[in-house]
């Protein structure tokens, strides 16, 4: 970056040291099937899946283990053949380490595919809705990390009438190289998946955005896409968070997504390149999403590289396969270093959205004491959505969440640029996460209060009605009695007069 540029340009984002190589250049290794797999029922955005198998049941690879529950949810399939050992709790791949419901599958070692898989030789001849159905049946979710159910995204894009399919090959997070590797090794499959997605969404063309620090991937994808006029490969400048939806769409199409809206608002839908591969596998081969390529990297990993791991494998097994740990890691992270979650321990499973497992040494994690904000506004300059992290964090510190929302807290995409550049080492993202969590909890409390208020009102109404009915009955009885008495009196009087 030239001197003049450094002084005068208003640039968003950061240029972190990427640590991608040598892991990106090492050939992919396929992890042998572990003895037990732990399939979290909540490995996608939305409602957890509902188990469709019983304990003790034998399953084959690719058979459905759990059904989606509700509109935003995804099915889960068996990554290998074996027996359901239990349905119980396991530590979630989440900083809290709180338990999550999981299906525990004992592998039988034969790894037999189910013979009920629906293959298709001419998927472009299928109805777009049928493609969506098969993608849903395969339990495909967004592989970039957000894990939004892909079928839902395909069908809603079609309804919204999107015109452009943006394929995210940015992979801007440092350390991670699984998308890079996938594009180098399986460009043909990815392009096939992209063309299926074009068909399913009704979009006219697809743009594959790849950061220019992956020349091999760009070359491979260009070669594979050359045969198709509607798929273009575009190198984009390497800069974090280029892979974020809003930034990617703006860079590739020049369109700015309105706050709070989906990319569909500007006629765009964004999918990850890994998702395209999963879609192709699901539709052509009928194979559900049961394993994925992920990067094992970080200063404490003996042999960094990309590993094909079954969904449900424990993190410690994956690391052990990748050569194990040297030294003592300062942090164990699932996902990238900028937005990934720190794990409490390694006995937690790989899920569909796990793009990487990082064992970072102390220098890489850079865990330093928080100092006072000097208002240097480095964070504001780094922020890709141009909120003022320093001001928002001040308000959160002072418990003024309302003020924080007014300053744009809800626009924050939690990319971590602000905390990355902060010279005072203020955990800005933690402040924002805390505030967002607290606000969500308050929302839930408010909704519950609304619901219970209705219940209470219904109850007092019921009590009032019961009291009223009781009173009416009593009044009727009394009236009847009086009438009877009067009748009797009249009778006796009549009798007397008679």
């Amino acid at each position: 970056m030239g001197l003049m540029e450094k002084i005068f340009t208003r640039s968003w984002g950061v240029h972190p040291r990427d640590y991608k190589r040598p892991a990106a250049d090492a050939p992919v290794r396929v992890m042998p099937m572990p003895e037990r797999l732990y399939l979290s029922l909540a490995q996608h955005l939305g409602a957890p899946a509902r188990p469709a198998v019983l304990v003790g049941q034998k399953v084959k690879k690719g058979e459905k283990l759990a059904d989606p529950q509700g509109p935003v949810s995804a099915a889960i399939h068996a990554p290998t053949s074996g027996v359901i050992a239990a349905i119980g709790e396991i530590s979630a791949p989440h900083p809290s380490g709180l338990p999550v419901q999981a299906i525990i599958l004992e592998a039988d070692g034969r790894d037999e595919w189910s013979d009920a898989l629906t293959t298709c030789d001419n998927p472009l001849g299928l109805d777009p809705d049928e493609i969506g159905r098969r993608v849903a049946d395969a339990g495909v979710v967004g592989m970039g990390g957000a894990t939004f159910p892909s079928a839902l995204k395909l069908s809603s894009s079609r309804k919204a009438g999107v015109t452009t399919l943006v394929m995210n090959g940015g992979e801007c997070e440092p350390y991670l190289s699984c998308d890079d590797r996938l594009m180098r090794d399986e460009a043909e499959t990815i392009i096939d998946g992209i063309r299926l997605m074009l068909h399913a969404t009704g979009a006219k063309d697809a743009i594959v955005g790849i950061e220019d620090n992956k020349p091999e991937a760009i070359a491979a994808m260009r070669k594979a896409a050359a045969a198709w006029g509607d798929v273009r490969v575009r190198p984009i400048p390497a800069r974090y968070p280029m892979g974020s939806e809003k930034q990617l769409v703006q860079t590739l199409t020049g369109r700015e997504i309105p706050a709070g809206a989906l990319p569909a608002a500007v006629g765009v839908v964004v999918h990850n390149v890994g998702t395209a591969r999963a879609v192709s596998e699901a539709v052509r081969l009928g194979r559900p999403l049961v394993s994925r390529l992920l990067t094992v990297n970080g200063g404490c990993v003996v042999a960094p590289g990309n590993v094909v791991a079954p969904v449900g494998a424990l993190v410690e097994d994956v690391i052990a396969f990748a050569g194990g740990i040297e030294g003592s890691p300062a942090r164990l992270v699932m996902g990238g270093p900028m937005m990934g979650v720190s794990l409490p321990h390694a006995r937690t499973p790989v899920i569909k959205g796990t793009s990487g497992i990082l064992a970072l040494d102390a220098a890489q994690a850079d865990d330093r004491r928080e100092e006072a904000c000097i208002r240097c506004a480095s964070c504001a300059r780094a922020c890709p959505i141009q909120i003022m992290p320093l001001e928002i964090a001040r308000h959160i510190r002072g418990n003024d969440l309302k003020g924080a929302v007014g300053l744009g807290l809800k626009d924050c995409i939690a990319c971590g640029c602000c905390a990355y550049v902060c010279p005072a080492h203020i955990p800005l993202v933690q402040y924002f996460a805390h505030a967002k969590g607290t606000l969500a909890a308050e929302d839930r409390a408010r909704q519950k209060a609304e619901a219970t208020r209705k219940l209470a009102a219904a109850r007092s109404e019921r009590l009032a009605r019961e009291a009223r009915e009781k009173a009416e009955i009593a009044a009727r009885r009394k009236a009847e009695r009086e009438a009877a008495k009067a009748a009797a009196a009249a009778q006796s009087a009549g009798g007397m007069s008679a």
């Binding site: 001197l3 002084i7 005068f8 208003r10 950061v14 972190p16 900083p95 809290s96 809003k246 369109r255 700015e256 309105p258 706050a259 809206a261 006629g267 410690e316 690391i319 052990a320 194990g324 740990i325 003592s328 890691p329 164990l332 992270v333 270093p337 900028m338 990934g340 979650v341 720190s342 409490p344 321990h345 390694a346 064992a359 970072l360 994690a365 330093r368 006072a372 904000c373 000097i374 208002r375 240097c376 506004a377 504001a380 959505i385 141009q386 909120i387 003022m388 320093l390 001001e391 744009g408 626009d411 971590g416 905390a419 990355y420 550049v421 010279p423 005072a424 955990p427 993202v429 996460a433």
Partner: protein, 363 residues
């Protein structure tokens, strides 16, 4: 070690990486940028200037550590701390008459560190620039001492005081001889104007603005050499410690009215070069108005802030009762900074300036 032996020490929030920036390094860079002008000042004004500088820094640090002890925040970063108190002391020393007695430096350090900074909660919490608050408080309280500028010694016929004499001057045991003091250019112009003399006549006698570039003239260390201060500022710009908005604003805020006024009334208004090169304007533009803590946080805000400082400086110098106005201007704009920050915010991506989601113009 095996992965299953790992247990997180606590809950870590993302990101799990850091760019490596440090407050201490930023402070160090600013100090580095001040060094050339300061060394030149030592050469120009001799030992007393050095002692005053040393004492001011010393007292600033002592008061900083004392305050941190009292508020229970001490000992976290060692005696030298984050270097912010040293920087404040340094900036204050740069604006004081170099032969001031020691207690001016000590009192100034007290006002800067304790009253203007630690009382507000320490680093990053103050709303007024500590060095400028101290400078204004001193000027208002001790106008005599604060305007006793010595003539630079290398050019004067008088002998420079030696180490011991210098120490005694700083300790106030030897009064500064009248023959060695002189008004600064701005002060001189103001006095002459009030005596009814025109500037052309007044400035003919010895005050040559060209000397300002070299800085060989009466004044504080911070105004001695505009050239060296400018070099320091460019160093800060190049290392990304400061950005261009505030300095440009200050320089333009003074330059534009000075050019116009001098063209209209050359007898009563100083020329632009004198304005830019005299007093604390250069120091203010590159080292004071760029103070992160007390200036607005946005680029546009900093430009507005700088323009305000520059314009007010010119107004006070030209129309006001004080010959120099940078410190007052900075304090006044410091007070306005929260309002500027409320008024000028960057447009959030996907929203209009008023905060509403944008319409789908791109579709």
């Amino acid at each position: 070690m095996n992965a299953d032996a790992y247990h997180a020490a606590r809950i870590f929030a993302a990101p799990h990486a850091h760019g490596g920036g440090e407050i201490r390094r930023t402070m160090l860079r600013v100090q580095l940028a001040l060094a050339p002008a300061t060394l030149f000042g030592f050469w120009l004004y001799g030992w007393p200037a050095f002692f005053l500088w040393l004492l001011t820094l010393f007292f600033a640090q002592v008061f900083e550590v004392m305050s941190l002890r009292l508020t229970g925040n001490a000992g976290q970063v060692g005696f030298l701390g984050d270097g912010s108190a040293l920087l404040t002391g340094w900036l204050l020393a740069m604006t004081l008459p170099p032969w001031s007695p020691w207690w001016i430096g000590a009192l100034g350090a007290f006002i800067a560190i304790v009253v203007a900074k630690q009382v507000f909660g320490g680093l990053g919490q103050n709303v007024f620039n500590p060095a400028m608050a101290a400078r204004v408080a001193l000027l208002v309280s001790f106008p005599l001492q604060l305007t006793a500028w010595v003539v630079p010694l290398p050019l004067s016929g008088l002998d420079a005081p030696g180490f011991l004499d210098g120490l005694r001057i700083t300790l106030g045991q030897i009064p500064v001889p009248d023959a060695m003091t002189s008004a600064s250019l701005l002060g001189y112009a103001k006095t002459e104007l009030s005596r009814g003399l025109g500037l052309a006549q007044a400035l003919a006698a010895g005050h040559a603005p060209q000397l300002s570039w070299l800085g060989v003239r009466a004044g504080s260390m911070g105004e001695s050499s505009a050239l060296l201060i400018l070099a320091g500022g460019i160093f800060l710009l190049a290392t990304g410690v400061i950005r261009w908005q505030a300095p440009l604003g200050v320089l333009a805020g003074t330059l534009v009215p000075a050019l116009i006024a001098h063209a209209v009334a050359p007898e009563t208004c100083l020329d632009a070069a004198s304005h830019l090169l005299s007093g604390a304007l250069m120091l203010g533009a590159f080292f004071i108005a760029t103070d992160y803590v007390t200036s607005p946080a946005t680029g546009t805000g900093r430009l507005v802030f700088g323009l305000g400082v520059g314009l007010l400086t010119w107004i006070i110098r030209t129309l006001g009762g004080y010959p120099e106005g940078v410190a007052f201007a900075v304090l006044f704009m410091n007070a306005l900074a929260p309002l500027i920050d409320r008024g000028i915010r960057p447009r959030i991506l996907g929203r209009t300036r008023s905060g509403q989601p944008i319409r789908n113009a791109g579709k």
